[in-house]
Amino acid sequence: MKNISAALFLISILIVSCSFGQNAKEIIRKMDQKRRGESATAAMTISIIRPTWRRDMDIKTWSNGTDYSLILVTSPARDKGTVFLKRDKEIWNWLPSIERNVKLPPSMMMQSWMGSDFTNDDLIKESSIVEDYEHSIEGDSVISGRSCWKIQLIPKPDAAVVWGQINTWVDKVDFIELRTEMYDEDGYLINEVLFKEIKLLGGRMLASVMEYLPLDKEGNKTVITYHEVNYDAKVGTDFFSLQNMKRVR
């Protein structure tokens, strides 16, 4: 009898922890889907902020899942009209001044995007925070008056990801990422991302400002400010063509 109750107790713990694990993954999935959408268009400003200087770049983006994206630079004047197209693993760069489409080597993906704190890969591909990690709820917290879960993400053994661990705080009502910490493989905190100015974007409650802070560099940050997001625009995969690189404006 004792044994049975012990076994039942063990099973119930297992069930609870299983459903807990399931929940954490579901939360991350909901959060991820909410921001990404099936296909979307957006207008945003990327600001690279350093102690002694700052550069702002305005871009418009079109995306379909993680495989297809098109980025148009609309400011500064020097780079206006430059377009990047990604189709699966291929990337092209349209340079309007010389009217040429340059195919970029895939090695360029790992480079910092125009001097910012993230790589081309961060911006265009993004390894899947749903599929590439094991998730667990670590506790509850409150950020900017919003009640949230703290979720820990540990990469799966075979996942090709950069981080050793990620902690993320997700709003319990709107499934919005509020804060994220990225740790390297030795457990050191490397980057922090803060999500601010929550408002309706494309009909969804989302953080319109993301601040990316590399913690080893005082005074450095990259800020993404969303001006407009449209999740209703159906952007089919045929849109991501060499022809449209010349047509978007």
């Binding site: 200087w53 010389i98 090695s107 360029m108 790992m110």
Partner: protein, 385 residues
């Protein structure tokens, strides 16, 4: 009376401001461009020539509707300095536009020269599948960074770094898109004489992550066949262009082939290497021919280099997010060991203001002395708007 005037003024202002507002909301045209100042130093053994060039480009684009574009681009340049004083008829060296229509004006005195040219002027009609362009335009069929044997209409010189837009052609181009990365293209340029015309077609498609193109046509006095590709080996870029010229008048057949590989490291170090073979060129051209590399004369796809073999290496590195250092070298394997070295440093001073310091050095052997035959240093400021 004064009151009425005030009202009229107010009315005009409000109409104007409404007009401006409407334009901002759905503006169907824009005007952009830049102003550059290029200070050049030509260093000789016993003297240095200083020259200055103010260069303004205006790009105007109008989209009257969703199927029509009008492009109009002007290049205005003011030259002054010692070289103009020394070289008689310097203007003729600058005004090398050999298009069908002469769309340039020039005024010149002893030490100052103003040159203005319409660089692009075309109308483009397009829909989902078709694109038709008529007028002065750039038909860019090249793939590689330095040499473009496939660029039948407007081959360009790597040494002419201050003209990144490259010249246009007075031409008609019809393009049909057959897929997301595939198209068929036909183009013909205007010329007084059939022997000067270029009439060619290009077919482009994408397979196994490679962009591939084949082309054929008539370029000046040759029947031309060519192909090119852009793809990758692992994560490095791998590109190439090959063109074969068969003269239908006199002269001999020639083959131009170039391959290129490039790789970008995570720390922003970028490496590119390329090789050119041109069967029609001499293995050991004379020194004068070699120094003519820098001439302002326009190249054609058939005579990209006076040397039969040419190899290119470029390294660039971002030492600071706003500072890029780079060096390009071209080595021509022959008995004189000609070598071109092109170091440069580029500073982003403000979002739309850049400063570049560039040098071009050309080493060659002359009467047993291996020395720099040309030493040029350029300081360039560019403001984009």
């Amino acid at each position: 009376m004064r009151k009425i005037r005030y009202h009229i003024l107010f009315l005009i202002l409000s109409i104007l401001s409404f007009g401006v507002k409407a334009q901002e909301d759905e503006k169907n045209w824009w005007i952009r461009g830049y102003v550059k100042d290029l200070l050049s130093m030509n260093i000789a053994d016993d003297s240095i020539n200083f020259d200055n060039l103010i260069h303004n480009r205006l790009n105007f684009k109008w989209f009257p509707n969703d199927h029509l574009n009008v492009h109009f681009e002007v290049r205005n340049r003011i030259f002054w300095g010692e070289t103009i004083k020394e070289i008689p008829n310097y203007g003729n060296l600058i005004d090398t536009n050999d298009d069908y229509l002469d769309l340039s004006v020039m005024t010149e005195n002893k030490s100052l020269l103003f040159h203005s040219m319409i660089d692009r002027a075309f109308v483009e009609w397009y829909n989902q599948k078709w694109e038709v362009r008529f007028g002065r335009q750039r038909i860019n069929w090249g793939i590689n960074l330095v040499w473009n044997p496939n660029d039948l209409f407007n081959a360009y010189s790597f040494f002419d770094f201050d003209y990144e837009e490259r010249p246009g052609s007075d031409a008609l181009r019809i393009k049909r898109y057959t897929g997301v990365a595939s198209s068929l293209e036909f183009a013909v340029n205007a010329a007084d004489d059939f022997d000067e015309m270029v009439i060619a077609g290009l077919w482009k498609w994408n397979k196994w992550s490679y962009d591939v193109q084949v082309l054929t046509g008539k370029t000046q006095e040759d029947i031309t066949f060519g192909f090119g590709w852009a793809g990758n080996i692992k994560t490095a870029g791998f590109k190439g262009e090959v063109t074969y010229f068969i003269p239908y008048t006199t002269g001999s057949e020639s083959l131009l082939a170039t391959i290129m590989a490039d790789y970008s490291f995570q720390n922003s170090l970028y490496l590119a290497g390329s090789f050119l073979y041109s069967s029609g060129a001499d293995v050991n051209p004379g020194l004068q021919q070699s120094v003519n590399l820098f001439s302002q004369e326009r190249l054609t796809a058939k005579n990209l280099s006076p040397f039969r073999y040419a190899s290119f290496l470029q390294v660039s590195y971002s030492v600071h997010p706003l500072v890029i250092v780079s060096a390009s070298t071209i080595y021509y394997p022959n008995k004189r060991d000609p070598l071109f070295i092109n170091p440069g440093i580029s500073f982003s001073m403000k979002p739309n203001f850049d400063i570049d310091l560039i040098s071009q050095l050309y080493f060659d052997r002359h009467l047993d002395d291996y020395e720099a035959q040309a030493k040029l240093v350029f300081l360039r400021a560019k403001w984009s708007f």
